[in-house]
Amino acid sequence: MAEEQKKLFKVTIDNITIEVEPGTSILNAARKIGGDIVPPAMCYYTRLKGSGGKCRTCLVEVAAGSTADPRPMPKLVASCRTNVMDGMVVKNITSDKVIDARNGIVEFLLINHPLDCPICDQAGECHLQDLSYEHGLEGTRYEFPRRIFEKHDLGPYIQLHMTRCILCFRCVYVADQLTEKREHGILDRGDHSEIATYIKKSLDHDFIGNVIDVCPVGALTDRTFRFKNRVWFTKPVDAHRECNNPKCCGKVTLWYRGEEVFRVTARKDQWGEVDDWICNECRFEKKLTSDWVIEGPTMVNRHSVIAQGHYVGVEKPQEVLYDVLDGRKPRLFMDIHKISEVNEPGRDLSKIEGPAHSTDFVEHKNK
């Protein structure tokens, strides 16, 4: 019996064979291989029990069910909810059927999505943006008015843009599994379904901020970071602190712009899933460098837009002016802060609660 449990299942995904433990899903087996053959996942989240099976972006073709029964599965299956069998042959990017189906799914996901990426704070780290960049059509074939919802403020920290939601249910699972009492869920059905708190109730649980991290689109965003900056202009840095909350790991990524911490998020792995949950105090209230122990820059995939302007291994040319001028400083022709209205030293956007408004910008003295 014990020997049977140790037996590994041999599964072939896109002609790459790997041995995995029984009970592994096709998606996780593909993630073990890594690279291009990993199906995209919008709703599956490793750390959330019961997630997956809703968005259908991870559909794959099973060309042979198992060694015992090598018949192909009649339909495409959701790889996040289908476990591997011994001798299973899976086709992902090598199957035209899968690519075709995925294009269709993306078109469906984008039917009601407003595509307001220039405004959305998630742009640059949005999974739907990546997905539609790869699979989306240039135009839309949808001719009807799009579903539009009112903006909600879910408490002082979280902004809900229901119009952008793709109903992946991840945030509902977070509320269900991390906080003791769930206060938000999905109301109504079909086209009308929306994430909502009953009577717009504020969610005040220590870990509810994690819904921001799990949201694959810009439906749930950080109000304290709202419109402050674009993610690709900020610099991610790994940091940790001693958190009093026993359930909080205290390991985060700080998103710097200059000396200011604009945003705190949990650390994410290469699949965009958090390593561990962090509490609201770490996420929303500790925005000073002195609150944290900096570990070093976060590794960012160099194909990500966040990696723009982050130069690795740069050797700065030696400053020779000081030597030439006998230690005198070179004359500064223009101090940019004297004339520039952007990034004024006296105004710290990161210290404004919520998004900045016209009232936060007073007219410049020199103009």
Binding site: F227, M334, K338, S340
Partner: protein, 177 residues
């Protein structure tokens, strides 16, 4: 020394004759060219009075555009700043308050928008990057100035006049774009 090409000519160093020393022929030759140009068409124009037409692809001073109702199009998405190879563009975004819908087209807008004209190389990448048709390079030059400070262009300098209150200035600033 071996010559690189076979077009080299040996310079003649004969002493000049008396007729050549008088330079009469050379002067007449030179003057005929000079006077000949008086009757040719002038390639120059009197600039401030007369202006040359710009090429339709000319890339001049930046303009921040408004829509037909006079609302600012820019949403401070940062793509122009991202595309800018000279890192000349900076901005700060703000959220539109209720009651400001007639000023800004989208819920987010650029509260501060600056182009450092000393850095700008007028490549037009910002115009290409803009998803909102908010910035374009017009058919005007960046005017010269005596101080560096005057080359930091803020929204005051960049924003196009309102088409509703000042349609003439708007049309003039918009040009043929």
């Amino acid at each position: 020394m071996q010559s690189l090409t076979n077009r080299a000519k040996q310079v003649e160093r004969k002493p000049m004759t008396l007729w050549e020393k008088m330079y009469l022929l050379s002067i007449t030759k030179g003057m005929s060219i000079t006077f000949g140009h008086i009757f040719k068409k002038k390639p120059t124009i009197n600039y401030p009075e007369k202006e040359r037409p710009f090429s339709p692809v000319f890339r001049g001073l930046h303009v921040l555009n408004r829509d037909e109702e006079g609302r600012e199009r820019c949403t401070a998405c940062g793509l122009c700043a991202l595309a800018c190879p000279a890192e000349a563009i900076t901005m700060e975004a703000a959220e539109r308050l209720p009651g400001e819908e007639n000023l800004y087209k989208e819920e987010k807008y650029a509260a501060r928008y600056e182009i450092n004209m000393l850095r700008c190389i007028f490549c037009g990448f910002c115009e290409d990057a803009c998803p909102k048709d908010a910035i374009y390079l017009s058919e005007t030059f960046a005017p010269s100035n005596y101080s560096r400070e005057k080359f930091i262009y803020g929204k005051n300098e960049l924003l196009i006049p309102d088409p509703k209150t000042d349609p003439e200035a708007y049309a003039k600033a918009k040009g043929n774009k």
